[in-house]
């Protein structure tokens, strides 16, 4: 199933807020904020986010995503998941169970 980026972003944002205890009143936490540089997520948290995305959406996140700056935000990661789900649909990527 090809995923739409917006619901992915919403689910990811909810996960990040809950897991890393980000206050609902934190105005800096947007879907475009750089999660690593703004220190919302540490090096352990990076791995948990990738694991969440893989488990929740059935895609394998490549290690490249760690250093692609346009993938360092909620929207960036959601876009990647949507792209990868399309590749799964088109048989270009193995489905992650």
């Amino acid at each position: 199933m090809i995923l739409n980026a917006q619901p992915v972003a919403d689910q990811l944002a909810a996960f990040v807020r809950e897991r890393f205890q980000i206050s609902a009143s934190d105005a800096n936490f947007t879907y475009d904020v750089h999660l690593w540089e703004q220190s919302y997520v540490d090096s352990i948290g990076v791995l948990e986010i990738l694991a969440f995305l893989e488990g929740q959406f059935g895609v394998r996140i490549p290690e490249d995503a760690l250093f692609e700056e346009d993938r360092a935000s909620i929207n960036g990661l959601a876009g990647l998941v949507a792209q990868l789900s399309a590749e799964v649909e088109n048989g270009k990527q193995l489905y992650v169970t």
Binding site: W36, E37, S39, S43, E48, L66
Partner: protein, 449 residues
Amino acid sequence: MLQPDTKPASLMVDGGLCVRNFVRTSDGSEQLDLGACVENPALLRTTLGHFALHQTTADGTHLLARDLLGVNKLFYAIGEDGVPHCSNFWFELIRSGFSPDAIWSLPSGHFAVLECGRSRLRLERYASLTFGEDQEFSELDLERHVRCIQNRFCEVFQAIRDWSANQRIYISLSGGLDSTGIAVLTREHLGDFTAVAFAVADCAEGSSTSEDLIVAERVARELGVRLKTVVASREQVLESLDLALLYGQDWREFNVHCALVNVAVGRAIRQDHGACHSAVPPLLLTGDVMNELMADYAPVTYSGKQFYLLPRLSAGHLRRVLVAGLDSGDREIGIMRSFGIDEIQPYALCAPAYAALPGSWLSKPRAKQALAQAIFGKRIPEYVYARPKTRAQEGSSSTGTGTLTVCIDEGIDAHWLKRRFGELFCIDPSSLQRFIRGGFYRFDTSGKK
């Protein structure tokens, strides 16, 4: 700026790729032709070893390659001459005048091509570990995996024997299961060696009451090998911090605490080996990487605080990220290189066989002990199997004194280590997350295929 007096006097790192490569191709050669590998990546997939290679072809094309787990590190920066300047050590390239932003790592399990006239390397992964999926696992399945691992050990130690001719061999012996396994295999396949055991002094006279040392002594005695005991004072541990940061190439607490142990071990080996006046470098074999392969890590509590936190993942997934995370941190090879010591990690060379075990099986209680008993049997004494997990940086259960406790007692916490690393490398500590992320050293994704 980098402080030259942090290097031990006995070492001159000349730049370039100075860590000795351990290579064994499928046809038994110790030389790897990267030109042939680019044409046929299967050649790299079937090569055993720890390596970070840079070769130049006749037409001026530069080829780089790094081993599957990234045991040997490979950093590069493209000079104004269009040539990649390579080093096993990040600080070497900074000292050569490259800014941190200009320095990249070649990721583990990759090769790279820089054609003449181009400014970016083309990166390609040549192999990945295949991890066993969660599935039912019978005794018969375990026996099959055990045979595979045992066969792999034979192959690995045969290769080590051929590669290490005339080298004096040392084993880092902690009194725990992993290092005892390596000690047993080394005795069988390579013969004599000197065991080295570490502890932090916990007595006023500078000695240690560590149970780990007592067990290590017993293991060494029963194997009929010499044991060198290294008892470091708290001051000696603290004095080694800059070296640990520089050559360990990491600021994260777990890796720094490990590196501090290895600085003491490396120094002791160098002194011991120096006494025999041999020009051939010593070779250290360690039990490193087994904890990653078996996801055998747990947080440690000291002084009311938890250290060495792990991502909250299933055992199988944790294994995958821990093994991938070997890409970064040089707490063993880099530290030993600073003392002119070669190091091989036999468990790393058996990684494919261990990785094939189902992830779900790893979370079974005492899975690691069960696997070791199936592989080693009575060759490892029962008293070693029965021991709780040992880690030199934590200190033994009898003393509670390790490099972690020494650091924390002196206020040398995660923040301090980041700040000091930043000072040594002239990097703003707040930007360090750009250089190690998710367990990887920063690599250039623009050239990725």
